[in-house]
């Protein structure tokens, strides 16, 4: 076991709880578009925050546990939607962790948009495996458009949060 402070564990637990709540709640928000599969990606904000604060390993933990718990709450555990959510979460976490670690030119907005892209690509890959069909590629432009838009939005929110120094006081979360 790695050593980690109780504070950090509590903070991670809170992030997972927030992510779960956002994931479940955003599933209830109707999106006024005639196509399924477009969502706000609010829960991704929590993943990005965890990545920003703690790095890839803990960020991935938060993302995966969040998907797992949310699927239990909403009753979709091991359903196709759950598998798509898992691959999407892994895709976005990987892309965002890479950008956070190896680039300096993106704010949370760029990182979040790239994360949405990774999410969509991971989902499409899993969907094409599930359906044994490459026809899901026709979803790509729609997902690219909505992912960029929602990624911008959630990244903007996260930027605003991080500018509030009082929201993350000092070493409190270490």
């Amino acid at each position: 076991m790695r050593e980690q402070s109780t504070r950090k564990m509590v903070y991670l637990s809170m992030l997972i709880a927030m992510g779960t709540a956002l994931h479940v709640v955003e599933g209830m928000i109707p999106i006024p578009l005639p196509i399924p599969g477009v969502k706000l990606g609010l829960a991704n904000m929590v993943t990005l925050l965890a990545l920003y604060l703690y790095g890839f390993r803990d960020g991935l933990t938060v993302a995966l546990l969040r998907v797992f718990l949310a699927s239990l709450v909403s009753g979709t555990f091991l359903s196709p939607g759950f598998l798509l959510a898992i691959t999407g979460a892994v895709g976005s976490t990987a892309v965002m962790a890479l950008l956070l670690k190896h680039t300096r030119c993106f704010s949370m907005i760029g990182t979040s948009m790239a994360g949405a892209l990774g999410h969509n690509l991971g989902q499409l890959f899993a969907a094409s495996l599930l359906l044994q069909s490459s026809a899901v590629i026709y979803y790509l432009p729609i997902l690219l458009f909505s992912g960029t838009a929602t990624g911008f939005f959630t990244g903007y929110l996260l930027n605003s949060l991080l500018q509030q120094k009082s929201a993350l006081p000092g070493e409190w979360y270490r």
Binding site: T103, F106, G110, M113, L117, P141
Partner: protein, 126 residues
């Protein structure tokens, strides 16, 4: 918003548009060149000639109507009535037709030139 963000936003926008154009483009372009079409010429209701379209090059032929001979011209994928013996010459003034469903009618001569084939969609309701 940093410069990198803006570049990424622009790149993603371009990628979206490009992929949409590549993937959805072919649903909006009518593929007329691959459609089998025929120009059907009939006099007094009886078919006197069928021409597969598009035909190679220009050609014209005479059709004997009720008031005299008319000249029908075919140029590639399109058809027109070039000469008519009637007074009005409405059929001549109509010019070229090329889409399935279009027709040229010469009322005095009782000649009808129609283009047959799978029609493009007029409308879609759902």
């Amino acid at each position: 918003m940093t410069k990198g963000d803006k570049i990424l936003l622009a790149a993603l926008t371009c990628l979206t548009l490009l992929s949409a154009a590549l993937l959805y483009g072919r649903f909006f372009l009518p593929k007329e060149s691959t459609r089998a079409r025929q120009a059907v010429v009939s006099v007094r209701g009886e078919v006197v000639r069928r021409i597969d379209l598009p035909s190679s090059g220009k050609s014209s032929f005479q059709v004997q109507g009720r008031v005299g001979p008319s000249m029908v011209e075919v140029d590639g994928a399109r058809v027109s009535m070039r000469e008519a013996p009637c007074a009005g010459g409405i059929c001549v003034k109509q010019g070229w037709i090329e889409h399935p469903g279009q027709s040229i009618a010469c009322v005095p001569g009782e000649i009808l030139v129609r283009i047959e084939g799978a029609a493009l969609l007029d409308a879609v309701t759902r």
